[in-house]
């Protein structure tokens, strides 16, 4: 049989966001995969140039709807040390609670989309029903269900009171048994195991070579989590040390189970932080701060992996902002892991990396004035992994 080209995207029913996959197929087997980005560039970085610090903080939070708190924390990690502001522990704990709830919400959302991808619509609905409880918590704690914006530089907009913390704990107690059941369904469902196991392999060596991040790397046995390796904010407190979940499979199955398990670790952290927080303490008032120094950087562990912000400041305004979201680090592995797979497994492999395309769109390969596809040959320089 001779080779044919099978294009998927940029608009396709199985893709939630625009990415172009150009698959060279022989029968139904993929012999070579290329992909291309650049369909939804939004320009948050350019937009933030010239903004005041607080304004820029509210702009960068809009980078991603699912992990907006992690973007906010990465920006604060960069800017707060420059202003020299003393941040009380309560504010740090509040940020941790929001960030960890966000991780739970993100993984539940992903679980639902994954179930939808393989045609299990009922399971999709169950996942999103549990997610709704977490969104209710956000509504109560921060005032918005998706883009929460609870932070100000050095402080927070509101202080969590006793009823808020009570509600968090009640809702967690409500969803935990349900999520356990959903994990059980995922683990024992024949359709899921047969389509996930041994598909989309990322060996440990490849994950290390490509600097993959987050659950995708941890599913290949790489022990790397920013919360553990470079603790920031409340993650530095002894009781809130993170125990990352590591698996060795490196296939779609490993990446699925790792996300199911991370939810419980996040729940532990939220419960612990709720215990430690003092409900009667008030957060400080917003101050006008002057940033000293030229540039700084901040990192956080977002639900999908490491989130990196570089901030250059001039006259207390943003001069240059550079973001690198976790999906950009992970998505380059597409070019390799699809090779040798059946075309029906493509949706599962695409979703197993939990791609968040719209918040990553900052890179395009342009050669001689023409946009080119990302190919396995260029990205891997002919390296072999098994």
């Amino acid at each position: 049989m001779h080779e044919k080209i099978f294009p998927i995207g940029p608009q396709h029913p199985s893709l939630k966001e625009p990415i172009f996959l150009k698959l060279h197929v022989d029968g139904s087997y993929i012999t070579k995969a290329e992909f291309n980005l650049g369909y939804t560039h939004r320009g948050v970085e350019k937009c933030a140039e010239g903004y005041l610090l607080d304004t820029a903080l509210h702009a960068v939070q809009r980078t991603c709807g699912i992990c907006s708190q992690c973007h906010s924390m990465a920006f604060l990690n960069a800017v707060e040390p420059m202003t020299g502001v003393q941040v009380p522990e309560k504010v740090y704990l509040q940020r941790l609670i929001t960030a960890e709830l966000e991780r739970i919400h993100s993984h539940l959302l992903w679980g639902g989309v994954m179930a939808h991808e393989i045609g299990l619509e009922t399971l999709f609905m169950y996942y999103w029903r549990e997610r709704e409880h977490i969104l209710d918590i956000f509504d109560e704690l921060t005032g918005n269900r998706v883009h929460h914006s609870p932070d100000l530089i050095g402080t927070a907009k509101r202080s969590f009171n006793k009823e808020n913390l009570q509600m968090v704990l009640e809702k967690l107690d409500l969803v935990e048994p349900e999520i356990k059941e959903l994990r059980n369904v995922m683990e024992n469902h024949d359709v899921i195991t047969s389509r996930f196991k041994k598909h989309g392999n990322i060996p440990k060596k490849m994950a290390e070579d490509l600097d993959l991040v987050g659950p995708t790397a941890r599913a290949s046995g790489v022990n790397y989590d920013v919360r553990q390796n470079a603790p920031y904010m409340a993650y530095g407190i002894k009781e809130l040390k993170v125990k990352p979940v590591i698996r060795s499979e490196g296939d779609s199955w490993g990446r699925t189970m790792i996300r199911c398990d991370e939810i419980f670790e996040s729940m532990r952290l939220v419960r612990k932080a709720c215990e430690m927080i003092d409900p009667n303490e008030e957060v400080p008032k917003k101050k006008n701060l002057i940033a000293k120094g030229d540039f700084s950087r901040g990192r956080t562990e977002a639900p999908r992996g490491e989130n990196f912000h570089f901030v250059a400041i001039e006259n207390n305004r943003i001069k240059r902002l550079k973001l690198r979201t976790p999906t950009l680090a992970n998505v380059i592995s597409y070019a390799r892991i699809m090779e040798g797979e059946d075309i029906t497994d493509v949706p599962v492999i695409v979703m197993s990396l939990d791609p968040c395309i719209s918040c990553m769109e900052r890179v395009a390969v342009i050669r001689n004035g023409k946009q080119e596809n990302w190919t396995s040959h260029e990205l891997f320089e002919g390296k072999k992994y098994d």
């Binding site: 903004y51 005041l52 607080d54 304004t55 820029a56 509210h58 702009a59 939070q61 809009r62 299990l120 009922t122 399971l123 169950y126 029903r129 709704e132 209710d136 509504d139 109560e140 704690l141 921060t142 005032g143 918005n144 883009h147 914006s149 100000l152 907009k157 509101r158 059941e181 959903l182 059980n184 369904v185 024992n188 469902h189 024949d190 359709v191 917003k286």
Partner: protein, 117 residues
């Protein structure tokens, strides 16, 4: 497979989680940031909200000397309410903020009675 069947059977006996939206309004928390309101009589036109707004939604009208907001640009971040020195900006709990025509977003909503939070 068995676990999925059990889960479905269990859910068959439960009441529906969803509600019939237009007939029955869903409840939001008291902290929810819905429609933005400005008490324009009390505004001292200091322009702090205008300088801080990330999208340029709120500006001080040069003729009328008070802040006006274009709700189609506002991303409901709440920063203007934080920086306002006389605290005349507030958010109501109304979440039905879509309008039929673009110009309706420019209409200023009365904003005299902020809810105590």
């Amino acid at each position: 497979m068995v676990s999925m069947v059990l889960k479905v059977l269990k859910n068959l006996l439960k009441r529906p989680f969803t509600s019939e939206y237009p007939k029955k309004k869903s409840k939001v928390s008291i902290n929810f940031r819905g429609v933005i309101h400005i008490d324009q009589k009390k505004c001292i036109s200091c322009k702090l909200c205008e300088v801080n707004c990330p999208t340029g939604a709120i500006i001080v009208d040069p003729k009328k000397k008070y802040a006006v907001v274009d709700r189609s640009l506002c991303i409901l971040c709440g920063l203007c309410a934080e920086v306002c020195p006389v605290k005349v900006i507030w958010f109501s709990n109304d979440y039905e903020i879509a309008e039929k025509k673009k110009k309706h977003y420019k209409k200023q909503l009365p904003g005299a009675n902020p809810v105590k939070k």
